[in-house]
Each structure stands twice: as structure tokens, then as C-alpha cells.
Symmetry: C2
Subunit: 466 residues, 2 copies
């Protein structure tokens, strides 16, 4: 490609789950489209988030199973961990998937432009850093999908070594003997499970009263109990103050109410949230309406600047890859098709520690707060034949339905494969199926999914197996 | 309990998935109910079928993963198999679940009667063998749910040692060096995977042109390729003749067209189907309408004898536990509630070998045969980030939809967790969701379930990741 101006129907800025999906979608529609990415196709999710972390978790799960191999009839002798190999596998998986996206760009005739982009007046996109520096892309429409990056603690030097964010942690080559993880959301919980499973001494600290604070309280409590049993030292309602990295360790103070405890660890991982990637994104004279530092969009994902759209993490929470993809595809369909773009109302959330957590809709505490009349149905995996046979009997399914009509208001699962199982309830809510319809659906036996049927029956006291 | 006559609202004969579910359901409804079982609560499924086999498969899957532990970053040294312990674990699981059913009987006030029952005129149920022999139960209604047992090969002595059925195989304590499995349906395929995974030389023989003959041809082919790669010697279109057990082995002839091959193995497992348990079930003067040796039932599950109902395997195919449970619950609700019992039209089928197979609705060959216009959407797990991260990228999802309206006609999955994943399509078909609605549903990322969304998009050439 020359460094001259090229005219596109759509220029997408950012090659993550929003950006690449939007670009591919436009390509499928026969549009001339470019996707500008300053690092690697796939974005954070694929390169430094969802995907490599799942590879690590697979290793951790296998290791934990192997420690109990004797229960299954096997003798293994001592099991040695090659931590660098565990990490290397996750990099290979990320690399393979990123190549896959690059292949999809070619297949769908998406021009893959490498560099950091800036939107200039008149919907010009200038590449001002990176391999394709100096290139200007003229676009009928621009989709900004630059996503977010981990937020760090102000005043604490982020060296990537003692003080890490999730991206640094995914790049570790040596297993830390001890770590303090600050923030017990999905990312913090997954790293806590992973490192603890392989033998690192893990302290997990959460400022809010519960770990996984956005989940249903019963689910959070269940994971907290599981984590404690696994040996993770969990602190809730706790602040981390006075963080002092030295050459070989980090010291800090945990403050819970009036109690203060000085602790130290080899590393800390900061997993307290994300912030928008907006630096250098807009040239002179372009000023977008923002909501804090997220880009505000209208119903069709258009920003306050005509022709400039935004989707994904950059437009604010819930910062989930599947939400980002959905938004970008909706935005692109709205640009080029007779289609009224849909904004995201209903989406599942998943945490891939063991036991896994998956949920959709409202929590019980939220229903109480909003004074919505509800009924609850629960089913424990201890009563599931498949769960017991597979030695995965930890956890339960909790279904919250409208008291009068049985409409599903919220669904919460903690246990093995929760992240796959939730899909049934997700579709159920999407098509407005009732608990009764879930119950009347013949679920294959023996499966974990029967627990979802039983929970829907339990709403009305009609579960067979409890 | 005395051995005198006791009067019940319902007497259920058989304590398997139909019988125990029907009895528990009646108990929940406040009915006076007894369940007569000649062996152990839970029936074949729980004691000698679905449940213990899943425990064995868990061991096999773990063993196979451990053999590849190095890919995940671990060194294990040599792994020793204690086969008797593998088997013992499966017995413990079955035992635990059977105790669970017995607990549910107590909880739901179901009288658990141990013995072999015979229905006498006037809806009396006499226990004529077993612990409660001599007892007579008078019943307003009787539900016959005696199920099926494995069918053996006529003329071949069934000693349970050289010549086994699935029940015998679940009772093995020593690992056979070699085995010929006759019949490549779900049971044959599961045992083939299990034994081969642990190192037994397995020959799998199927009379029909494909293994898993009721599945979609592409799925069968995919499993056949996987089995071949695993080292299972598969023979289709092949008859087993001239079976001769000796003290130490079994010899036989495999006949495929004009080709004849003499082979031998330590054992054979006959998995060619089932036959109804009707022996001694009806006293003098009671004659039910039968279909071959299955009991014929009307729309409300009533047999040709007033007050006598039947559900589960005893009323014929598909011989699936989840279908049996559904039927029994429908029958019981019809007896005691203002409820029009539903007969089973739509049900998933599952095979738990690796890769797993799950399906619902019609196969592609069936649609062709019936000249139904259809579209097909496919998505391979190699393109799923979660599948690659978890090293489970074998297999694919295949969705068959009505050409005009997008209604789901059939869904077929081969791959890891297929048996859990199918549930989304099962609910989809139940509530008559279209492929488009599945596609429009936000699936959590990264999950295997995204492949179901992508397959539904692929129907219209709109999958993002292929």
C-alpha cells in the first residue's frame, strides 16, 4: 500500500473484539474497509485478556485434577511445573488466534493497517505512529473501537515487574512465590485461582464487601468459601495502602476498618478496573461528547461528530468482549443496511476461576432493592448425576423469576462449566421464555444442564432431584 | 410395613428414571404412592448405565489429558493405571446416586418396596420375589416402568465374562488386553473410547454403514476419523459371526460383503440394543396391547387396561433416560392434575465418548430423504478461542434450518462438551426460536457456546470467525 490517501467506506480504529468484528462485518457486506491497529489484531481480549488467560486456566485445572489423579484410579508420581512453559502455551494460543483474525481480514478484504491512528477533521484517519506511519485514510465513516487499558494505582510506580497489571501478569515467565492481587472482580479472581492452583501464595484484596462484587451475594459467598478452601487468603472491605516496591518484594498495609496489617509479597497485581484509550485519538478541532472519559454515542452508535461512530469498551461499561462485538456489528449494520441498531440491554457475565461463575440479569439483592416481587429456584450440583460422576459437584444454579408470570429476571450459576451452561438462560431471557418453558424442555441426561431445568422447576417446588 | 394389602393412589413398578421420577412426582402432589423395585433405586441408568459410565469416561478423559500434560507445562513421569480403582470409583458414584434416590423416596413419602412385582386383575400389585415378597399393593392406578435390558446374540452363550453386555462391562475389575465391541451406537462408542483411552486394544464393529448410525452422516464420519486417530479399529457394514468363547479368549469372524476375517480378543461386549422387561409382569387374565414386545399406550400413557399406565423404555424407543423421566411425569400429572399429558416429540440424544456427540431433530440425510428444503450453517471448534485455549478444538457445530423461515430443523454437535452445549438448541427448538434469534443472542466470550451462535450466523453467510 502506498502512503497516499486512500478512500474507504469505513475505517475502523482498533482491532479488538469490537474493531475486528466491525471491520469483518463491513467486509462481508462488500464495503471497502480498513482496520487500524497499533499492536496486534485481536486487541486486548485476544492477546492480553480473555484468550491467553483461558489457556492458563486450562493448565491450572489440569494440574489440580492431576493432584487428585489417585481418586480417578491413577498414580502419577511427583508432578513438576514448568511455569515458563505454562505461560508460553498461552502466548502460542494468543498468537494462533491473532493469526486467525489476520487471515479473516484477508478473507474479507479488510485492509489491515498497522499503527496508531488519529481522527482528523473531515473523517480523515491519519496513522501517526507505527509501521504504516504517515498514511492517511479517508473515510465515509469511522468506527472508533480503541478499547480500554488496565487502570493503575495513582502514586504507585508501575514497573511491570513488582507492580503488575493483567497484561504484565500474562507476560510473566517465572512463577512468583507470593502475590497480592488488588481487586477481586473477574480478572483478579481468575489470576487468584490460576496462581494459587499452581502453588503461589495468593492474597486477594477487595475494597467492597464481597469478592466478585457485581455478582449475586450467594454466588460471591460460594466462591469466597471455595477460594478459602483452596488456600487463597481473601480480604474484603479492605484497602491496600502504603504500597512500597523494593528490588525483591513489595510491602503494603491492608486496612480494614480500624485494623491495619502490614504484609509483603514478591509481586502485586493491580486489577481494579480499566480506563479508556483516548490519548491522541482526536486531532485538532474535533471534540466529542464524553461521559467521564468514555465516548458518548447515540442510539445508532454515532458520536456527537457526524460520521464518527464508537463501540466496545471505549463507550463505557460493561467492558465485555461479547458486548463489544455485538455493538460493533450493530453499528456497522446500521451504517450500511436498512437496520435499526440495537443497544445492549441483556448480556451474560462470566468469571473463569474454579468454580466458574456465570450470570445474566438481576441479582437477588438488586430485586430486593428495586422491590420487584420474585420467586427463586435453586439446584445444587451435588444432586446432579453428571456432576458427581465427573467430580464437579461444587456449586449451584439460582434462578430468579417474576412472581406472577414466571418471566426470568436473573440467573446465576456457580460451578463447573457455568460459563457454557448460562447460555440456555441467556437464550431463554432473549426470547422471553418462562421458567415453566425451561422446565418443560427435555434436557439430556446425564448433563449438568439438567440443573438449569431443575432450578426452574424448583421455583414452583417441582424439582424431582431435591 | 406388614405383608397385608395396602391401598395406594399409585403403585409404580420399576425404580429407574421413569419409575422413580413418577413416584416422586406423585409424592410431591400429596398422593399415597409406592415404588416397587427388584434391584436398586435408580434403575439401569443410575446403577448400570448413564451414571457409572460417565464416571469411567471422566477417568479416561483425565488419563488422556495427563498423557499430554507436557503440552500444558507439566511433567508427570510414568502414569500407572489401577483399573480396579477406576471401576470402583464408578460403583461408588452409582451407589451415592442410588442412595440419593432412596433419600428422595423418604423425603417425598414414597413407599419403597423391594421385590419383583406382578400386576393382577383389579389393579393389584403382588410382590412375588425379593425382600418384600408376599406383599400385595392395591392401587387406584399402576404405572409400569420396568424398562429394558441389553439384548444378547441368540446362540452365543452369555457368561458375563468372555461374552459381556454393558452391565457386565461396568462390573469388570480387570482391564482386558483386547476387546471386540459389537454395535457402535452410543453404548458401544462410549466403551470403545473408554477402554481404548486406557490402552485396551479395541475393535468396534457395526452392521450398518456408519458408526453412531442414527446421527447425521457428517457427525458419524467425524467421530469415525477421531476414533481411527485414537487407535480404535472400526469396522462398519460388518457382521460378527461364528462367535466362539473359550476359557481364555473369544474367536469370531468379521464378515464384510465377501470378505471374511477371523479375529480373536480377550472379551466381547455386545451392545446391539435392548429388549423390554416384561417377563412375569402380568398375572393371569391380564393381556395388554403390545407393539412387538413394548407396551402400547394411549395419549395419556394409559395402556389397554384401565388404570394401568406405562412410561419409559418399556413403551419403546428412543430408550433414553430423559425421555423416560419426562413421560412418567407427564403420565402422573395426567392422572392426578387437570393436565393433558404430552407425548415426546422433541428430545436430544447424546454420546459421551470424546469427541462428544449431541443432536436434536433431523439429520441432513433425513431432510434430503423427506425432500424438506433446508439451509445449513456450520462452525468448527478450531475457530473458537475458548476451544483452542482449552485444547478442545476437535469437532464442529452443524445447524439445519428451514429454508424459508429459519426455523431450526436439526442441530448436531461433535466436540468437547457437546452434550451440554446442545441444550441451547434444544430450548431453541422447544420455543420455536429461529436461527436469527440464536444469532442475535449475545453469547459470552470466550465460550464454546459461541460456536452455536456462529453456526446460526453461518446459515446466512454471516459468521464472523470463519
Amino acid at each position: 500500500m502506498s502512503k497516499e490517501t486512500t478512500k474507504y467506506d469505513l475505517v475502523v480504529i482498533g482491532g479488538g473484539p469490537a474493531g475486528y468484528a466491525g471491520a469483518i462485518k463491513a467486509g462481508q457486506m462488500g464495503k471497502k474497509v480498513a482496520c487500524v491497529e497499533m499492536e496486534r489484531a485481536g486487541g486486548t481480549c485476544l492477546n492480553w485478556g480473555c484468550i491467553p488467560s483461558k489457556a492458563l486456566l486450562s493448565s491450572a485445572e489440569l494440574y489440580q485434577r492431576m493432584l487428585h489423579a489417585e481418586d480417578f484410579g491413577f498414580k502419577t508420581g511427583k508432578i513438576d511445573i514448568d511455569f515458563s512453559k505454562v505461560m508460553k502455551r498461552s502466548r502460542n494460543v494468543a498468537d494462533q488466534m491473532a493469526k486467525g483474525i489476520e487471515f479473516l481480514f484477508k478473507k474479507n478484504k479488510v485492509d489491515y493497517v498497522r499503527g496508531k491512528a488519529r481522527v482528523e477533521k473531515g473523517n480523515k484517519v491519519v496513522v501517526f505512529e507505527g509501521t504504516d506511519k504517515g498514511k492517511t485514510l479517508e473515510a465515509d465513516k469511522v468506527l472508533v473501537a480503541t478499547g480500554c487499558k488496565p487502570r493503575m494505582i495513582p502514586g504507585v510506580e508501575h514497573d511491570g515487574e513488582r507492580v503488575m497489571n493483567s497484561r504484565d501478569a500474562l507476560g510473566m515467565t517465572e512463577q512468583p512465590k507470593s502475590i497480592v492481587i488488588i481487586g477481586a472482580g473477574a480478572i483478579g479472581a481468575e489470576f487468584a485461582y490460576f496462581l494459587n492452583a499452581l502453588g503461589t501464595k495468593v492474597t486477594l484484596v477487595e475494597m467492597l464487601p464481597k469478592i466478585l462484587p457485581i455478582e449475586d451475594n450467594e454466588i460471591s459467598d460460594s466462591v469466597a468459601r471455595a477460594f478459602k478452601k483452596q488456600g487463597i487468603d481473601c480480604h474484603t472491605d479492605t484497602k491496600v495502602e502504603d504500597i512500597k516496591p523494593t528490588k525483591t518484594k513489595v510491602s503494603m498495609t491492608l486496612t480494614k476498618g480500624d485494623n491495619k496489617e502490614k504484609i509483603e509479597a514478591e509481586k502485586i497485581l493491580v486489577a481494579i478496573g480499566v480506563q479508556a484509550n483516548t490519548e491522541g485519538l482526536f486531532g485538532e478541532g474535533i471534540s466529542l461528547d464524553m461521559d467521564r472519559n468514555y465516548i458518548k454515542t447515540k442510539e445508532d452508535y454515532q458520536t456527537s461528530v457526524k460520521g464518527v461512530y464508537a463501540a466496545g469498551d471505549i463507550i463505557g461499561p460493561p467492558w465485555l468482549a461479547h458486548v463489544a462485538t455485538f455493538e460493533a456489528v450493530q453499528a456497522v449494520r446500521g451504517m450500511f443496511e436498512k437496520h435499526k441498531p440495537e443497544k445492549v440491554k441483556l448480556f451474560p457475565g462470566c468469571t473463569y476461576c474454579q468454580p466458574q461463575v456465570a450470570s445474566i440479569g438481576k441479582t437477588e439483592q438488586k430485586l430486593k432493592e428495586e422491590k420487584i416481587p420474585y420467586k427463586v429456584g435453586k439446584f445444587p450440583f451435588t444432586a446432579s448425576g453428571k456432576a458427581v460422576a465427573a467430580a464437579h459437584s461444587e456449586g449451584f444454579v439460582k434462578l430468579l423469576v417474576d412472581k406472577e408470570y414466571g418471566e426470568i429476571l436473573g440467573a446465576h450459576i456457580v460451578g463447573a462449566e457455568a460459563t457454557e451452561l448460562i447460555t440456555e438462560y441467556v437464550l431463554g431471557m432473549k426470547v422471553e421464555a418462562t421458567a415453566e418453558e425451561i422446565h418443560d424442555t427435555i434436557h439430556a441426561h446425564p448433563t449438568l444442564s439438567e440443573a438449569l431445568m431443575e432450578a426452574s422447576a424448583a421455583v414452583y417446588g417441582e424439582a424431582i432431584h431435591i
